[in-house]
């Protein structure tokens, strides 16, 4: 009896040890980032590591906001604006298309939906160069419109919304139509609120995806005043090689908004992972 108990507790100890070790490995780079960001330029390179800065300073953060050539504040605003716009475009266009596929099928709509599914196999790697050239032809390079427009091509979003709208019963929508409501009104005031949980998850995933995206903004937006936070931070990495406190301050400020959004909505995000949405 005693031995069994001992074994039980030993097992539990080993488990918690492993758990804490994993959490520590995950968190250490973040703590290192945070600690470095509050150090002065002489204090970042120390052996051994000083986790708590001896003379904490906001120098890194001040320098981030007073860079020569780029404005971090402007880049933050650009990122926020573009993330909101891309999210709105992605989610709304997907929901509208899904509404047609589930509730207003027409001749050939099944085949069209299969085509949507097939496009999910086309990698962005292949479409990247032609998309750039299409924007060039349309005169939309280095514009926000050009950056946002490709968000319309969102077959995966249509697929997710369709899954969710299939569960809505027709009778509710039919009675609203018989009462004289237009299809647009039915869509915006009945269908969208009824799929609110999926909508919320999709909005979240789309927002985090747009905020974090790098390659497309890097290619499309060339004027410094239009660039996003990720592109500016990426450029800083080369320019501030020996000023890691400035880089870490920039990284903290880039991660923070998404982290806050995630912590406020962990459940929704977890639901999104179950849908296979975030990567």
């Amino acid at each position: 009896m005693m031995r069994n108990r001992l074994r039980f507790y030993a097992g539990k100890m080993a488990f918690y040890l492993l758990l804490c070790l994993m959490a520590l490995v995950t968190l250490l780079p973040f703590l290192w980032m945070l600690s470095s960001s509050f150090k002065g330029s002489e204090a970042i390179r120390t052996i051994p590591i000083r986790w708590i800065p001896e003379h904490p300073t906001l120098e890194g953060y001040q320098r981030v906001f007073h860079m020569q050539g780029f404005s971090f504040a402007q880049a933050s605003f650009n990122s926020l604006f573009l993330a909101v716009m891309c999210t709105a475009v992605q989610v709304l266009s997907a929901a509208m298309a899904a509404f047609v596929f589930t509730k207003m099928p027409f001749k050939g709509s099944g085949k069209l939906f299969s085509l949507y599914l097939a496009t999910m196999m086309i990698p962005g790697t292949v479409t990247m160069v032609p998309n750039y050239i299409i924007l060039r032809v349309l005169g939309l390079l280095d514009t926000y419109t050009g950056l946002i427009l490709p968000s319309l091509a969102n077959a995966f979003g249509v697929f997710l919304m369709r899954q969710s709208m299939m569960t809505l019963s027709d009778s509710y929508l039919e009675s609203a139509l018989l009462d004289g409501a237009s299809l647009y009104r039915v869509f915006f005031t009945i269908v969208l609120p009824m799929v609110a949980p999926t909508l919320a998850t999709m909005i979240l995933l789309a927002f985090m995806g747009s905020w974090n995206s790098y390659l497309w903004p890097l290619i499309v937006l060339t004027s410094t005043e239009k660039q996003t936070l990720q592109v500016v931070l990426g450029n800083m990495n080369g320019m501030y090689k020996n000023n890691e406190h400035v880089l870490m301050a920039g990284a903290v400020l880039t991660i923070l908004p998404v982290l806050v959004v995630y912590l406020l909505s962990q459940r929704k995000v977890d639901a999104g992972i179950a849908l296979g949405g975030l990567k």
Binding site: M22, I44, I47, P48, M96, A97, V129, G234, A251, I255
Partner: protein, 295 residues
């Protein structure tokens, strides 16, 4: 759904479908075809020239001295990344599968690297992997190991990128494995316990075979993503040092947007696409040999 005649069904269908359909055609289908066309052209965006050269882009890439290096770097990345990500994500999922206090908290902790942008993660990891003062080498020093100057070393730059990628991705795949673990019928374990099986035997005899469909999916997805590794490489090493970490998407990016050779870039992207397609098909073909769909 029944629609009264007066509802303007045709117009509404067009209005609802247009944004998404136009987007799909203009930014997905047309580009797919034009990319194939470009790959047969000597298409220089700066000079504005566009000449048909047949398969020359492809032969130039495939017979050049650069391509074997790109292949070898990409497969080094995959060869290190795949086994490691399988081990770490299964381990993390096994831990999370226990019932314990504060599980939501730990799940959140494990997921923070996933929601972090690759740019921020790469900036932080460049500093973590820094030669003398970096976090990793200082930790290694405490156990008596003198670490390499990771990203500045031709030999260690790619392993450095892989370490960062494992840190970033484990939380994501662990949740996928966790979902699969939760769907395993506990009756299997009870029966095994009655037969006197220990936890190690249970893991290899029950858990692992029943996880095989998920592990298969994980490998397929990661081969697809791994062949297209980009953000981390561009920021952490920019293909260097001395071209030691050049990979497919990095090459495509450089050809297209540094040299404006759109034909070369398109041909490169088609070679990549064909490789992805072949490797995925081969895996689906091989899965019969090891994936267990019985449960």
């Amino acid at each position: 759904m029944y629609l009264p005649k007066s509802t303007g069904r045709r117009t509404a269908t067009a209005v609802f479908l247009a944004p998404s359909l136009i987007g799909l055609v203009v930014f997905c289908l047309v580009p797919m075809i034009s990319s194939l066309v470009f790959s047969f052209l000597n298409y220089d965006l700066l000079a504005g020239s566009m000449d048909f050269i047949g398969l020359k882009n492809f032969t130039r890439i495939l017979t050049g001295s650069e391509f074997p290096k790109v292949l070898s770097h990409t497969f080094t990345y995959l060869g290190l990344y795949l086994p490691l990500i399988l081990i770490t994500s299964v381990a993390e999922a096994l831990v999370l599968n226990h019932a314990f206090k504060g599980r939501g908290f730990f799940r959140g902790v494990f997921y923070t690297p996933v929601i972090t942008s690759w740019v921020a993660a790469a900036v932080v990891w460049t500093w973590v992997l820094s030669g003398k003062y970096g976090l990793l080498n200082q930790l290694l020093q405490t156990v008596g190991i003198t670490g390499p100057s990771w990203l500045n070393s031709q030999q260690w730059a790619m392993p450095g990128v892989v370490i960062a990628a494992i840190w970033k991705d484990t939380g994501y795949y662990a949740l996928m494995v966790l979902a699969a673990l939760k769907s395993i019928d506990p009756a299997y374990y009870e029966a095994a316990s009655i037969d006197g099986a220990g936890s190690v035997r249970k893991f290899f005899g029950i858990t692992l075979p029943l996880l095989s469909p998920t592990l298969f999916l994980l490998i397929v997805i990661n081969v697809i993503y791994g062949l297209q590794v980009f953000d981390s490489v561009l920021i952490m090493t920019d293909g260097g040092p001395g071209g030691a970490t050049t990979v497919f998407l990095e090459r495509i990016y450089k050809y297209a947007f540094k040299q404006y050779k759109m034909g070369m870039a398109s041909a490169y992207s088609w070679i990549l696409f064909i490789m992805i397609f072949v490797m995925t098909t081969v895996q689906f073909w091989l899965q019969k040999k090891w994936v267990n769909y019985d449960a």
